[in-house]
Symmetry: C2
Subunit: 125 residues, 2 copies
DNA sequence: TATTGACCTAGAGTTAACTTCAAGTTCTAT
DNA sequence: ATAGAACTTGAAGTTAACTCTAGGTCAATA
């Protein structure tokens, strides 16, 4: 079992954030010591890994909370969870190719500015 | 010259958003009709194109405002603007490859769930 | 035993980027 | 001339995801 501090180190999240995620039902069943301190298990850290993974790919916390609720419901939601992940992957891929397009536009703008710059510098001679 | 409504159509932004951008000094010098209505010129729309381009690639509005301030300062800031755009491009590329890594992790998780699912379904037979 | 540092809670505050509201003004078409 | 649509303003409200505060409790050490 790990303290909240250790869980922070392993996940890269702040302690405030871990408590916030608990309140938001991303990982609501973390066990406690006699004194009321949080104790993270290996499964908790595993779950946090998945949570970060989804968060890092832009899934809103409310959707992650729903996903984790399904997880707690057990194996009979495995199919649904697979579907959700597949759909999420497609969404992320879509966003990435859109970003690619946007980046190309930036490149065009930069080319334009570069040409303007060299004209300007020619004039300055 | 175009009304704010026409500017909305050409940029895909809401009228409220255009006014907000004006207040935030992204494009603060839009001219006005006698009655005080905004009149967007072709250069304004061109500038809005760049603004959207930067926004769509994740540049914060405050940075865009700074960029547009440089633009208003004229050609002697062309070099600086080119540098800024180049740096921005690198930042965006970095984010995209990071996202690629994150997406791979999602793929791994999905594979894991898929394997668990087929085991589960075998048991169910 | 006393101190110190890590942890607890509920609730308030922050940030970015809008979005809505209320109330008034201007433009356009009959 | 007037109805109604489109536009104006400043200010308040919204959302997501934190982040911080205040006032306490718990645990390890001297």
């Amino acid at each position: 079992m790990y303290t909240i501090h250790e869980a922070c180190e392993k996940t890269g999240l702040a302690a405030h954030t871990l408590r916030y995620y608990e309140k938001e039902r991303l990982l609501p069943n973390v066990s406690r010591s006699r004194g009321g301190f949080r104790q993270y298990s290996d499964e908790d850290l595993e779950a946090l890994g998945l949570i970060c993974c989804l968060k890092n790919t832009g899934m809103p916390l409310s959707d992650i909370a729903r996903f984790m609720e399904l997880t707690r419901e057990g194996d009979q939601t495995l199919r649904e969870r697979c579907e959700l992940l597949k759909r999420h992957k497609e969404v992320v891929k879509g966003r990435m190719s859109e970003m690619e397009r946007h980046l190309e536009k930036v490149t065009h703008k930069l080319d334009h500015f570069s040409r303007m710059l060299s004209e300007y510098e020619k004039e300055m001679e």
